[in-house]
Amino acid sequence: MVDIKYSKAMKKIEELIQKIESEEIDVDDLSDKVKEAVELIKVCKNKIEKAEMEVKKVVDDFEAETLGEKQ
């Protein structure tokens, strides 16, 4: 689950919501599907947070570097 690509995960979430919405999903499967969607949402959230942190770090490192060069 963790290895899934963000865009794929998002697509899957959308599909699940759509399917639930259009009542294609059996009530028996409903909780499983919601669970799955929640899992995916978690994965995506983690991915976003991780990316956010990494981006911040890269930018901070880069700024420190360029500042060092200017000095």
Binding site: Y6, I17, I20, E21, L30, I41, E52, V55
Partner: protein
């Protein structure tokens, strides 16, 4: 005349008397001088005048003359007054004022020169020259040698002059003085008198055959018009016209041009002047070369500087362009940097929002799904409720089952006397089949 004979002296005396009576005045006589040169240094100069056939040059008549020592000075004076146009010498045509005299001791008629008319001689020379010029013009050869190209560096010179004469020495020393590498091939020739023409023509032939020569010079020192009249030669002019090499003349004259000068490529007044002409020509060439070399150097310098300026310009614009480019790239990089700083975070935030809304959606949708399921179940319940046998029993219906407990739906299921159990809403009724009838 009582005597039957005369003595020679008596005869000669008589002849003298008759002649004197016959020529009471001095007369002007024209003719060509002969035998003068060999006697000219004597006290009294004895010589002859002769008349030649115009075509064959055969002597038709001759007569002896004498210039007494007392007259010599006077004659020279007259010639001097005519600007030294000529001096008396063999082969020239002159006009003398003479007494016709008979010299009894020799029994010879002679002319005693009293005066001379230089104009006649000059006229004759001029006339002769004009005749030759007219003829040469007619043949179109006067300018022929002028179109022969004279090299800019005439260093190899064929010289026609009297060897070791003043003219020769002047010419050679002027060339030597220049320090230029002149080479002179001298062809000895008579430069005055009747044989001059023959000598010069031969010399022109010989020098023209020499491959190594650049130019031919005919030169001599100054002389009287009569002396130079041998250069009014048709034969020489024709030889010059045919000459392979350019012919330069330096015949020492002051006023009039000789035919040789006119036919020559270039004429100068003196041997020195001809030599100077060559020296100047060579020097001009060298100067021209120097100038050309300088010109080449100058134009090279100019080109070099121009190219240098161009390169400078290139370098400058390269520098400014580069700086400009770097600046704009720097701005771009800065902007990109800003974008990198903010954009990803922004987009992550957006993603987060989206995710949150997905979460909401999920909650909402799954809620709805359960709700609709509940509704469905309820409606089913209702139908089931309606269809339930209890409700049917309540309305008065009953269910009759066989003893096996099967609901009796057809008469075929039962036989008479068989027990039946009938269910009503509040209990069961046991009975037996009495009769079976088809309905």
């Amino acid at each position: 005349m009582s005597q039957e004979f005369l003595t020679v002296s008596q005869l000669n005396g008589l002849i003298q008397e008759v002649l004197n009576n016959g020529f009471p005045q001095a007369v002007w006589v024209c003719g060509e001088i002969q035998g003068y040169d060999r006697n000219k240094d004597k006290k009294h100069i004895f010589f002859e005048l002769c008349e030649k056939d115009a075509v064959s040059e055969e002597i038709l008549a001759r007569i002896g003359l004498v210039i007494f020592s007392g007259k010599k000075m006077y004659i020279e004076e007259v010639l001097k007054r005519a600007e030294n146009a000529f001096s008396l010498k063999d082969d020239i045509e002159v006009k003398f004022l003479c007494w016709v005299d008979f010299y009894p001791p020799h029994g010879a008629v002679r002319l005693i020169v009293e005066n001379i008319d230089p104009v006649h001689t000059l006229g004759k020379i001029a006339q002769g020259r004009q005749k030759v010029i007219a003829l040469l013009k007619e043949k179109g050869i006067l300018n022929k040698n002028k179109s022969v190209e004279l090299t800019p560096v005439p260093l190899n010179i064929g010289l026609i002059t009297a060897h070791d004469s003043a003219a020769y020495n002047d010419f050679i020393s002027e060339l030597k003085k220049s320090g230029c590498a002149f080479k002179v091939f001298c062809r000895n020739s008579l430069m005055q008198g009747k044989k001059t023409e023959r000598d010069i023509c031969r010399a022109l032939d010989v020098l023209n055959r020499m491959e190594c020569l650049d130019v031919i010079v005919i030169t001599r020192g100054g002389g009287s018009i009569a002396e130079l009249s041998c250069f009014d030669s048709q034969a020489i002019a024709e030889k010059i016209a045919l000459s392979r090499l350019p012919v330069l003349s330096g015949i020492g004259h002051e006023i009039n041009l000789t035919v040789t000068d006119m036919a020559a490529h270039t004429f100068q007044k003196t041997p020195t002047a001809v030599a100077q002409f060559f020296v100047q020509r060579v020097r001009d060439f060298l100067a021209g070369m120097e100038e050309k070399v300088c010109g080449v150097i100058d134009s090279f310098e100019e080109l070099k500087n121009k190219e240098k300026e161009k390169l400078k310009g290139f370098a400058f614009s390269l520098q400014t362009d580069t700086i400009h480019l770097l600046k704009s790239h720097h701005l771009l990089v800065n902007r990109v940097m800003e974008d990198i700083k903010h954009r990803p975070l922004q987009s992550l935030r957006e993603q987060k929002k989206r995710l949150a809304s997905q979460k909401d959606d999920l909650r909402k949708v799954s809620g709805m799904r359960t709700k609709s399921a509940v509704t469905q179940v309820r409606s089913c319940e209702k139908i089931i409720e309606i269809a339930s046998p209890v409700n049917t029993l309540k309305r008065g219906f009953s269910i009759t089952r066989s003893k096996e407990g099967k609901a009796v739906k057809s008469i075929a299921q039962i036989k008479p006397a068989e027990p039946l159990i009938t269910q009503v809403v509040d209990g069961f009724i046991e009975s037996h089949v009495k009769n079976i009838k088809r309905g």
